[in-house]
């Protein structure tokens, strides 16, 4: 059900496979792909796939959990919004592509549903959110919190993609360490 493809042989390889059309895809060392019916009972299988690849490429369990949850939230959004209900009809599928580069793990979730305007979705003001005890709407907030980069490309009815990146080196912590060094 999923494909592993060795794309490059070392750092700086310019060879790149761009099977499902994400523009400006970076140079890729290795990629894994899963195409699966867009049904909620497949979420566990999707998580297994993503977490096993993340483990294999060396992420610690804490980061594996973050990647797994971010992917789950992205796929849940597709099942809930892009393909309406996530009910079984066997017609709708989503693609999960993982690209491994020397410095980062890129996860691309692609669907062919209705899409949405990502700019129209405001991240929740958590103070207000908690004060009102709202139900739901946390998915994109979690994705942005858990991953280093989140980017959408929407072509409703044609191809919608969310690309999420996790760097192998924690850039936030690295910046902190650098600024601490500068301050000394």
């Amino acid at each position: 059900m999923f494909v592993k493809r060795i794309v490059g042989t070392g750092l700086g390889s310019q060879q790149c496979v761009n099977q499902i059309g994400y523009e400006d895809m970076p140079t890729t060392e290795c990629e894994y792909q899963l195409r699966i019916p867009s049904e909620t009972d497949n979420l566990e299988l999707i998580r297994d796939f993503v977490s096993k690849v993340a483990e294999k490429v060396g992420f610690k369990s804490d980061d594996v959990g973050k990647i797994e949850l971010a992917c789950d939230e992205a796929c849940t959004n597709v099942m809930k919004h892009a393909y309406a209900s996530g009910q079984k009809n066997g017609k709708e599928s989503l693609d999960i592509l993982i690209q491994i580069d020397y410095d980062k793990f890129t996860l691309v979730v692609t669907d062919h549903g209705r899409g949405f305007d990502p700019d129209a979705i405001k991240l929740p003001d958590m103070k207000e959110y908690l004060a009102q005890l709202k139900v739901g709407g946390l998915g994109i907030y979690l994705m942005k919190t858990l991953m280093d980069e989140v980017d959408y490309q929407m072509q409703p009815g044609v191809r919608n993609q969310v690309k999420m990146v996790k760097y192998f080196i924690d850039k936030k912590n690295s910046k902190l360490i650098e600024s601490e060094k500068e301050n000394k």
């Binding site: 959990g65 949850l69 939230e73 099942m79 996530g86 958590m126 709202k134 998915g139």
Partner: protein, 112 residues
């Protein structure tokens, strides 16, 4: 995969034990179990999560809804036995400030 859910009600306290992975597929099961207790207007619902190895935002939303509904009749819903990864979801969404979180059911029962 389906959740394993058991519940017991004793002395105005319900203990709802949930085990498995709570996501958009399985969370309706948890929601139904909570709704049953809400219908009975149980004053204190303790949701025991030590058997939950994974929870996404739909699981969190289910618990928020349960807490809201309990509060409507002056009841409460608390959680106990969170594993580290589940606790992290609570912390990321700052729900650790909203929910009373206990290390286990016994502590949750005592701290009424």
């Amino acid at each position: 995969m389906s959740l394993k859910i058991t519940n017991s009600v004793e002395d105005k306290v319900a203990v709802l034990k949930i085990a498995g992975e709570v996501d958009m597929f399985s969370s309706p099961q948890a929601r139904n179990a909570i709704m049953e207790l809400v219908k009975q207007r149980v004053p204190r619902v303790v949701v025991e999560l030590s058997g939950v190895s994974y929870m996404d935002s739909s699981g969190v939303a289910t618990l928020i809804e349960g807490l809201q509904l309990c509060q409507k009749y002056n009841g409460t819903l608390v959680v106990a036995g969170l594993r580290d990864n589940v606790r992290e979801v609570f912390e990321l969404t700052r729900l650790d400030k909203i929910f009373q979180i206990y290390k286990d059911v016994d502590t949750a029962k005592v701290n009424e």
